[in-house]
């Protein structure tokens, strides 16, 4: 299993522990990640200019195609936007023509389709829940995990084709495979609020608090995330709240790659668990 590794822009500076844990987990599961010099997926530009955002995505398709590899990304916003660009190219000949012209100007060309995978899909389909169960040397028995899906992979379902957009199961299946108990909580498909950071911090924070309160009320020990932005919201942004704020006491957000890594028996430093700002008490697990 060999993929072009697409970490996205935020991991290197803002969330290095995600990159670290993804690399460690994939190495342990024999998923080979090839680093290529990708550009931005284009999602952050979509607020400003759709064509720029689609062109950025397509350039990445060209880079992956040249290497002959499918794209593997741990970020749901990157995943969602790459899929969006793919669908826009297919449905709108006008945009496709503009993109081809831009590519030609930069001396590039684009021929075949690029396979785009989110990490959860790779874990589910390539590794497989059963296989994961067998390899879990230290299963997370008794840990109650609230899975946070992340909007941009789920919706619009007809664009992303990630899972059932109204009743997805992939995240829970993987968590159960590593021995954790999963919770059926109301807000698992709701937005984390991060996309509004810097644009409307009041609503962004309100969305975060609502979500954290929901996870706490469901009795979760851990809020599992599988997206760079969701984790930034539930870890970094939450850590900016004043000491003693109730939201700080809500279940800590832990990255799916860290949870799987712990179950596989990897070293917690290797998984960047000491990088999480809201510490997971279970990190000594």
């Amino acid at each position: 299993m060999k993929y072009a590794y697409f970490p996205g822009c935020k991991i290197p500076h803002h969330l290095p522990e995600y990159g670290q844990s993804v690399q460690a987990m994939c190495a342990a599961l024999d998923i080979e990640l090839i680093p290529l010099e990708f550009s931005c997926c284009g999602w952050p530009m979509r607020h400003e200019n759709e064509l720029a955002s689609i062109y950025a995505a397509v350039r990445n398709f060209v880079i992956a195609n040249d290497a002959g590899l499918p794209i593997f990304t741990p970020c749901k916003c990157c995943f969602g936007h790459l899929k969006y660009a793919e669908s826009r190219l297919a449905e709108n000949a006008d945009i496709a023509a503009q993109v081809r012209e831009l590519l030609a100007r930069d001396g590039l060309s684009f021929s075949r389709e690029t396979a785009i995978f989110h990490m959860l899909t790779v874990l589910d389909e390539q590794v497989g829940a059963e296989n994961l169960r067998k390899r879990a040397a230290k299963p997370l028995t008794g840990v109650k995990v609230a899975c946070h899906y992340g909007c941009h992979a789920l919706r619009p379902g007809n664009v992303t084709n990630f899972d059932d957009p109204l009743a997805p199961t992939v995240f829970e299946r993987l968590m159960q495979a590593i021995g954790a108990d999963t919770l059926d909580w109301d807000l698992r498909l709701e937005c984390c609020g991060y996309p509004l950071r810097g644009r409307d911090n009041t609503i962004s924070e309100a969305l975060m608090r609502k979500k954290l309160a929901g996870a706490a009320a469901s009795g979760a020990d851990v809020l599992a995330t599988a997206c760079t932005y969701c984790q930034l919201q539930f870890d970094r942004e939450r850590d900016a709240l004043p000491a003693g704020d109730s939201a700080r006491m809500a279940p800590p957000a832990v990255l799916v790659s860290q949870l799987v890594g712990v179950a596989l028996g990897l070293d917690k430093r290797e998984l960047g668990l000491d990088g999480n700002h809201i510490p997971w008490e279970w990190s000594g697990f």
Partner: protein, 545 residues
């Protein structure tokens, strides 16, 4: 005072004054949060390592591109060698080698080698700037000026040496000063030898029989070799002299050796005086920045008091353009054409902002867009061969910009409710502004909308608001309704458009398959496009009327 002394003094004064001015400007206008007064100017092992690896061996340059390392190393080692052992020969070379004469080997040979290395390096640099499309677009006058001035020094040096090789006037001067002929035959024989062996071009031909040349060789052995190696070891200049054969006579009569001496010295003075300007400054600042900061990204405020570390960092930019070649959001530059999306260009404007200069509204708007599009992916910072903490500069400047050049989001959000209602007046569409056309302009996009309010009822933003119509102005289904009626302008200022979290629940749940979230994205694009293309603000329209 001679021409040389006057020129050198003027160039030195400009250089020293200019460097002083630029260093003084390192203290920026940004307030440093939690700035510590203790500056950490300690020269430790890390500094020494940076000095050897990054400054002397150009290790940071080599990390991104072997080609650029080769080009830069050729120029760096070539030019530094010439500077120390040729320009400063009386101080440096003569100090280490008391028997030094510039026309003896190995010096004569090394001078040619170092000059050739520099020229090849400069050619590679020019090639890179022309070959790499993005770099070609970004290259400015100062980039070519730096290549031309350094190239001018080397080329004029080679021409100077070549014109001296062929010059009978220079030969005669030396003979007069250092050769005591016993008979006229002595001078003839020596001239014959130098003409045939060392390339001097006399106005009349000298005999080339073996006897005369043999005698000339022995005279040369007795009187010249102590100070003169075979001009053949000056392999570039001698080849150049041979190539100049057809015009040698004209050059000699017009004393080309003196012309090229003035040209060579003048080029050197120009380079010296140019040091405080543009990228000519980087041979000073880049090593300082590398040694002081070693490319570290921690605690920029601690490096120098009063934000000096940032100012120094910005001056260390060599305009090599590696950051812009590898920039993650460069595709946006390809589409929007705003060069300030690229780090190297943004840095130039940032340096002015940091120094307190006021930029034009158009520049600020472009800078603000570049700043917003930056994803802080760290790539430019990791690549920068000068070790500039670009990441810190981007993050710090974003905070500074909010008030100076508001984003479309801030612009819309900062309006009072009545202003927002008139937003279509304020940001008036103009025929010169290419309108963003798409779903929102096509009322058939909403034909199927039955105003069932599903979009609004599933919206998490509406759900967390205690007073949705107050906080958000319009609810999703109301926006769809206005668009259906062709009232797009009335929706642009609605806070719902700007506070959409893009979670796509509305679109996913819409029973009529209306692309609610895609439309909201598109409305933001519309405002961004109008601001980008000059805004066509009503205030301006008012003035013109």
């Amino acid at each position: 005072m001679t021409f040389f002394d006057i020129g050198l003094s003027v160039a030195l004064v400009i250089c020293v004054a200019g460097v002083g001015f630029r260093v003084a400007r390192w203290r920026g206008k940004w307030a440093s949060p939690e700035s510590s007064s203790a500056s950490q100017w300690c020269f430790g092992v890390a500094s020494l390592k940076a000095l050897v690896l990054d400054v002397l061996l150009l290790a940071r340059t080599g990390r991104t591109s072997a080609f650029r390392w080769l080009a830069h190393a050729l120029v760096f080692f070539g030019f530094m060698g010439l500077l120390l052992f040729h320009a400063l020969d009386e101080t440096v070379t003569a100090f280490f080698f008391p028997a030094y004469e510039s026309t003896l080997d190995p010096w004569q040979f090394l001078r040619n080698l170092l000059g050739l290395m520099t020229l090849v390096g400069l050619a590679l640099m020019a090639f890179r700037r022309l070959w790499e499309k993005r770099l070609r677009d970004l290259t400015r006058f100062q980039d070519w000026a730096a290549l031309l001035v350094i190239g001018g020094i080397i080329l004029s040096g080679f021409f100077l040496e070549a014109s001296k090789i062929i010059s009978p006037a220079v030969f005669d001067r030396m003979v007069e000063a250092y050769f005591i002929p016993e008979t006229d035959r002595d001078v003839t024989a020596l001239k014959a030898f130098w003409s045939h062996e060392y390339g001097v071009v006399f106005s009349v031909p000298y005999p080339s029989d073996a006897e005369t040349l043999g005698f000339g060789a022995s005279l040369n052995e007795d009187s010249c070799v102590d100070c003169h190696a075979d001009t053949g070891t000056a392999f570039v200049s001698r080849s150049l002299a041979t190539a100049l054969g057809p015009v040698a006579f004209a050059m000699n009569t017009s004393r080309a050796d003196q012309v090229f001496w003035y040209l060579h010295v003048l080029c050197c003075f120009v380079a010296l005086a140019a040091i405080p300007f543009g990228k000519f400054f980087h041979p000073v600042t880049t090593p300082v920045n590398l040694v002081v900061r070693q490319g570290r990204r921690d605690d920029p405020e601690d490096m120098l008091p009063s934000d000096g570390g940032r100012g120094m960092g910005m001056d260390a930019c060599t305009r090599c353009g590696e950051c812009s070649v590898h920039c993650s959001v460069a595709p946006a530059f390809s589409v929007l054409g705003n060069a300030m999306i690229l780090p190297s260009e943004k840095l130039m404007a940032l340096r002015q902002i940091h120094a307190g200069a006021s930029l034009s509204e158009a520049t600020l708007t472009a800078f603000s867009e570049g700043s917003r599009l930056c994803t802080e992916c760290l790539r430019c910072t990791e690549i920068c061969p000068a070790g500039i903490n670009l990441q810190d500069l981007w993050i710090a400047s974003k905070a500074q910009l909010v008030s100076q050049a508001p984003s479309p989001n801030d612009l819309m959000r900062n309006k009072t409710p009545s202003q927002r209602a008139r937003v279509f007046d304020d940001l008036c569409a103009s025929s010169v502004v290419p309108a963003v056309t798409g779903l929102a302009d096509d009322s058939t996009s909403y034909w199927a909308c039955v105003q069932c309010t599903t979009c609004t009822s599933v919206c998490p933003v509406v759900a967390v608001s205690e007073n949705p119509s107050g906080d958000l102005d319009l609810l999703p289904q109301q926006i769809m309704n206005l668009l259906r009626m062709g009232l797009k302008e009335e929706t642009l200022g609605a806070r719902m458009v700007w506070s959409c979290t893009t979670c796509y629940k509305c679109q996913e749940h819409c029973p009529q398959n209306i692309r609610v979230a895609d439309v909201l994205y598109e409305l933001r694009n519309t405002v961004a496009a109008r601001i980008r293309d000059g805004g066509v603000r009503c205030s301006k329209k008012g003035e013109s009327q």
